[in-house]
Point group: C2
Chain length 346, copies 2
């Protein structure tokens, strides 16, 4: 193809492709849908002629006929948070390989979702919706969905009953936090830490509360006093300020377990650059996520990891399984966590 | 509205809304399009009844009629890069306010774009396409667009002729780098730096080459020897390794001007944690972007900033201006840069 054209061409139609290939209009449609059966040589011929004529099927028109939009909506509180941006990036790459495009929607800052925006989302008729925020209720989302089944990321708390039966239809990715957090506390104990503080995320986040409950349960089983909660909001700046206050005004601690890596960076910088304390000699720090920045030499953070590739693969599997079986009861995938040991405990 | 429904409802239709409101089907369409005129009380009535009936217009159906999809495609090399993720986040928020949803597409790692993916993009019929990579040629993009006019982010080099006349139709956001880079070099000179190295980005990136040419021109005009180029690729890890090599094997420098902030972090960590050099006493460092991490205490980076809000506003203006005037010749918006002084020069 040449790069010399100076203006957009008018579009070729499916009828033009069908005529040139001497096949039916239906065969042209089928050729562009990898999930339909068609003789390989016939599909090849149609796709070659479509390319010559510069024809591509119009997704809006196809969506009306097939009921599929090839759009996957993702609802996030923010795109720039380090973990989220890495996940959206990997997910978009994986979805492109499956023929889907990513449609982004942002929640309000309190993690709730504008109903007008949910209506807009439904208007685009996505094939699936991934909700990274648990604050948009499945029942609300279902009301706005039409036919897509939302996928939720769950952080089951230890001993919590499975509420999938009583819940309206949705699929879920379960992230088990116990193993990684237990390994982190064991390591801290092994290096003599007893008073462990928890730097929290925003209180509206269920990921935060479930992480805190798991930590409390792990510490109780290990005979440790409950963690003192230092209030953060997932950001570096809040973590920095809260740490300065906690060590200047409060009792301090032997170690800080942070709800996320970015918060842990704020804790480390406050300890070193404002409080004159050494990490790990005076205070040990553990994070959660293992984002790419965690291995940067200024932080070199010991942290709890859940694997990004595994997570993205599990989400794509949930989408494809659901599209193959629209009426199946709630589908699930489960991932585990583990400790990555670096330089902030020891 | 209640949250108790356990299953998606079947959709209300525009006809149902029209009947209940005692208006025409056309009036219902107009009520949902803010750009059409309709008596305020009539629009209010229709929207109220639509809400009661839980009706939302189907975008796919509307797109076929109106020719507008309310989708804005964004082509990026990666979502997780710090500057890009902050820009996509702010842009998605701004676009949501205007009634558009963001559709994400990723390039190959060499910044080129899979033609199959461009065809998919065209199939979704976006109202506009923002290309953050200059490597997808405007003429290629135009061929795949149908009706949308792509927006490119340009970094005009000093003295370069304006090629907008000879180029096929596209709109552009010009980012002028001269002022910020000149301020950075003046500050470095003022603190006695003479041998200034340039940590580069990936060689395929035109943003990288135009930044380098601007720096060379600024340094020449200020009577400085040309910068030695230390090869990076925008990443922390490449910057770290290249800096260690350059100071261990090569001649070293009084200062390093990094193509982006993340590269500057790699330079700083290599100098401090691997080479035992002090920043800024032994080596001064300047970055480019002013991402949120630049004020973190471990780095506290002096850097060249272009304002995110201004940039997002300019992009949204370009989109709206183009939709109001599809046949206008190439539209432009222009932004400037300036130096943010922190602790890595002085």
């Amino acid at each position: 193809m040449s790069d010399k054209d100076d203006a957009p061409r008018s579009r070729a139609t499916a009828e033009m492709v069908a005529a040139r290939a001497n096949v039916s209009r239906v065969a042209v449609s089928r050729a562009f849908n990898p999930h339909t059966s068609l003789k390989p040589e016939k599909r090849e011929l149609i796709l070659r002629i479509a390319k010559e004529l510069d024809y591509t099927p119009d997704r809006a028109a196809r969506a009306l006929v097939s009921g599929r939009s090839h759009l996957i909506a993702i609802i996030v509180p923010d795109v720039y948070a380090h973990w989220e941006s890495q996940e959206i990036d990997a997910l978009t790459t994986a979805l492109q390989h499956e023929g889907f495009a990513t449609l982004l929607f942002k929640t309000r800052t309190d993690y709730s979702m504008d109903e007008q925006l949910l209506a807009t989302m439904r208007g685009h008729n996505p094939d699936s919706v991934i909700a990274f925020v648990e604050n948009v209720k499945p029942s609300t989302l279902a009301r706005f969905m039409g036919r897509a089944v939302p996928i939720y990321v769950h952080y089951p708390a230890p001993g919590a009953t499975d509420d999938s039966v009583s819940n309206p239809l949705h699929d879920r990715l379960n992230v088990l936090q116990w193993d990684g957090i237990d390994q982190a506390v064991a390591l801290l104990q092994g290096y003599g830490a007893r008073r462990i503080a928890y730097l929290s995320g925003a209180p509206e986040s269920r990921a935060n509360t479930s992480r805190q409950h798991t930590l409390e349960e792990v510490m109780a089983r290990r005979g440790l006093p409950p963690p003192v909660v230092v209030k953060g909001d997932f950001s570096y700046d809040a973590a920095y300020r809260a740490t300065v206050n906690f060590f200047r005004v409060g009792d301090g601690a032997d170690a800080v377990f942070a709800v996320n890596d970015v918060g842990a960076f704020g804790v480390i910088d406050a300890l070193r650059h404002e409080l004159g304390l050494r990490v790990p000699e005076d205070v040990k720090v553990v994070g959660f996520d293992d984002i790419a920045q965690s291995h940067w030499k200024s932080y070199n953070l010991t942290t709890v990891k859940f694997d990004l590739d595994e997570r993205v693969n599990a989400l794509v599997r949930l989408i494809l399984r659901r599209l193959n079986n629209p009426a199946a009861p709630g589908l699930q995938e489960t991932l585990n966590t583990r400790l990555i040991v670096r330089g902030t405990v020891g």
